[in-house]
Symmetry: C2
Subunit: 120 residues, 2 copies
């Protein structure tokens, strides 16, 4: 029997920042959960649009020409090719929806770059 | 500037049941919002997996071999080809992720079938 996925339970399974976990795959897309705090690296994704849905807290999505705040119950779609940098003053819990091929730091690589995403 | 999408605001824009609205498109996928109440039609999608994320309330997803309850903060992925029928005793608010090609009643057609989804 297909079972529901409890998001709060999945979020409680990890506490590190900038390390998305996969909770579902469908149509070649991954649904991931992540916790952000601090400043991420500037990057873009040449071939992937990326959705960020805030489950708890808020963060600022910086673009080269400005920034927007994304709060709880809000989401933002960053189109492919658009440079962006998420910044969270305080911890924020985020759901990501993007192609399974997506590397979270895009073409940039830093010590937080993950190449194989863990399923939880 | 890319703007965040406020889910509560989008949900307040419609009140009818079983009539999903599109709020975003990325990577050939649609993000939709819907309100369910009552029993939907049995159907499957030959080529599309479908994700249901409960934003408010709860519903029962019936399969031919049983049923599961999906509550607030939970989600369920129905793989392509699996017959299913959502049933909501009380109104439930749901976010859907699925290919833009998906018809919500699958191969079944009833008087609720929508062929062109409205963007809100």
């Amino acid at each position: 029997m297909i079972q529901p996925i409890r998001i709060a339970e999945k979020l409680s399974a990890f506490s590190d920042h900038w390390n998305p976990r996969v909770i579902a795959e469908l149509n070649g897309q991954h649904v991931k959960l992540a916790k952000f705090q601090g400043e991420f690296v500037w990057h873009d994704h040449a071939n992937e649009d990326e959705l960020f849905l805030v489950l708890k807290g808020r963060f600022r999505m910086e673009f080269r020409d400005g920034a927007v705040e994304v709060g709880e119950g809000e989401m933002i779609v960053v189109p492919r090719g658009v440079e962006h940098r998420p910044v969270a003053e305080q911890e924020v819990h985020v759901m990501l929806f993007e192609p399974a091929s997506t590397r979270h730091t895009g073409d940039a690589v830093d010590d937080r770059t993950v190449t194989e995403y863990e399923w939880i």
